[in-house]
Amino acid sequence: MTDLLRDTLNERADGIEPPPLDLDGIVAAGNRQISRRRALTVLGGAVATAAVAVGGATLIRPRTPRPQPARPAPYVERRAVTFALGNKIHYGSDVIPVPSKHINAFVQTDAGFVFLDEGNNIHIADRAGVRATGKGTWRLTADHRGSLVAWVEDFNDHCESVVYDVAANRELVRTPAGNAIPANASLAYGPRIVAIDGNTAYFGTLKGLYRWDISTNNGELLAKVPPDAVRTVSAGQLVYQQPLVQPAAGHTLRVGPTLTTGDRTTFAGEQAFLSPGAKYLVTQPNDASAGPQPVWSDLQLYGVTTPTGRPLPRTSYWKFRFGQWLDDTTFTAAGARHTSRNEADLLVVDARTSTYGVVAPEFSTYTFSKTAPRTTPFAMPTGAPIYDLG
C-alpha cells in the first residue's frame, strides 16, 4: 500500500501526546462492574444452589484474586513523621508515590494510608497497592491507632456517616442517622465525623452528636448540639466548645467524659487535637482571615490533667498547621516561615518541655496553587485539606 497512507497515519499518531493514564479510575470502574456481576451471580446462585441441593452435589470454585496496581508497600503501624507533597506520601524515610495528580488530604491507619485526590475521591494506599474506593468526601477522620477511617458522604436529601475498615477492606457502618436535610434548606454547617475512639465513632450530625458502637452498628443521640460542637474525642474524653450550642465556633474549649458545663478547666482556642491518652491538648485559635481553610493559626499546648500551657513561640514562624500525634507526648506540625517565599518547615514538638525541633527544613512552601481548588503543595495527616477561599 502507499507510503502516503502510512506516512499520514504515522504522522498523526506521532503528533499526539497520550493523556495521563487514570489507572485508579479504571480499577474503580472495573471493580464496580465486578460487584454488580457478583450481586447477580449471588442471586442466580441461590437458584442454582437449590437445584444442586436436590441432586445432592455442590461445586465450589476458588475465586481468582483481582489484579491490583503494583505499588511500594507502606508499613504504617508505626506513627512516624509523615506528610504528603504533590502526589507522594512521605513516611519516615519512605516515599510512597500514588497515581493521582495531587493529594488533597490524608490520614494514617495501622493498615495503610487513606487519601483524597485532587477531585476529593477516596483512595487507599496499603500493602496491596493503591486502590480507589469509588467514594468521595471533603474530609477524612481516623483514630490514633487501629485500621478504621470514617467520612461523610453527601446525597441530595441526606448525608451518610461511613466507617470503613482498611484492613478488612469493607464498610462497617453506613448510616443516615441524624442527617436528613430539610427541604429547601441550605446548610451553613454540614455534618462531620468528630472522631473514632477505639470501637466507638462520634458523628456530628445535623440533629446532634451521635455515639456509635462500631461492633454492634448501633448508636445513640448524645446531645442536640451543632455538628462541630464537639471537636474531637480521645480515650473517652470529649473536647467541646463553649458555649456548647452556639452554631458557629465557640470561643473556648473544655475537656471531659460528658458534655456538661460544670466546673471544668477552660482552654483557649477553637480547634483541638487531643493526645492519644488525653494527657495533652493542642489547640489552634481561629484566624481572623477567612481565606485559608481550615482557619487554624497559632499552636497552643496544654496539659489536660495538670493544666499548664502557652502558645508555642512564633519566633521563626507566622503560621502553624497541626500534623499528627506520634505518641502521647510528641506531635508534628508544619510552620510557615517569615520570608517572602513562605517556606514551610516540618517540626516535631515535645509536649513535656514545650520545645520543638525542625526535622525537615523547607519541606514545602505555605503557598496556594493559582488555579482551583487552590490547595497548598503539601498536606498533613489530619484528614482536612488546606485550601484558600480568599
Binding site: M1, T2, T8, A13, I16, P19, I34, P67, G129
Partner: protein, 164 residues
C-alpha cells in the same frame, strides 16, 4: 505481568490507535478508558499480554464503530483547516487531505485501513480484530482505497502509487 503493568506499558499505543480510529483526542481517551475497564474485568481470562492487547484493541474497535453509528461523528468533523486539494503527494497538504478523507470513511473501512497500514496486521489478524472474515477485510480495504483515490484526484494517486 499484572494489569497495571499491561495498562501502563500499552496505554500510549492503544491511545494512538484509538485516536486514528476516532480522529478526536477526547473520544480516543474515552475509548481507551472504556476498553481498559473491560480488559480489567476480564483480566483473569487474559493472562497472556498478547491476548490482552488483542482483546483491548478489539473492544476499542467495536466500541468506536458502535459510538460512530449512534453519535454520527461525521457530522461533527471540523473542516476549517483543510487546504485546497493537493496536486503533489509530497506536498504536506496531501497528508492533511488524506487525513480528512479518512475521517469520512465508514468506521469499519477506516478501522481496516488503520489495522493494515498503521498496525501492520495481516489480513487474518485484521479479520480477528474486526470480528469478520478475511474476505470482508479485503473488500473493506479495497472499497476504502477506491474512495480515497477518487477523492484525492488522479494526479496525486498516480504519483503516490495508490493505484496498487
Amino acid at each position: 505481568m499484572s494489569f497495571a503493568d499491561f495498562a501502563t506499558s500499552r496505554h500510549g499505543a492503544l491511545y494512538r490507535y484509538a485516536y486514528l480510529l476516532a480522529g478526536d483526542r477526547g473520544l480516543a481517551e474515552d475509548l481507551v478508558q472504556e476498553a481498559l475497564v473491560k480488559t480489567y474485568v476480564g483480566w483473569h481470562r487474559l493472562r497472556d499480554p498478547n491476548n490482552a492487547e488483542a482483546y483491548t484493541r478489539r473492544v476499542i474497535t467495536t466500541t468506536a464503530i458502535d459510538w460512530w453509528r449512534r453519535k454520527s461523528w461525521r457530522a461533527e468533523l471540523p473542516n476549517d483547516d483543510v487546504p485546497d486539494r493537493p496536486a503533489d503527494p509530497d506536498d504536506v497538504t496531501a497528508r492533511v487531505w488524506l487525513w480528512y478523507e479518512l475521517q469520512k470513511l465508514p468506521p469499519r473501512q477506516r478501522a481496516a485501513l488503520v489495522l493494515r497500514y498503521y498496525e501492520d496486521l495481516t489480513e487474518p489478524q485484521t479479520a480477528e480484530v474486526l470480528g469478520c472474515s478475511v474476505g470482508t477485510v479485503k473488500s473493506q480495504v479495497s472499497d476504502a482505497l477506491k474512495k480515497l483515490r477518487t477523492r484525492l484526484g488522479s494526479d496525486v494517486v498516480l504519483k503516490a502509487g495508490m493505484t496498487e
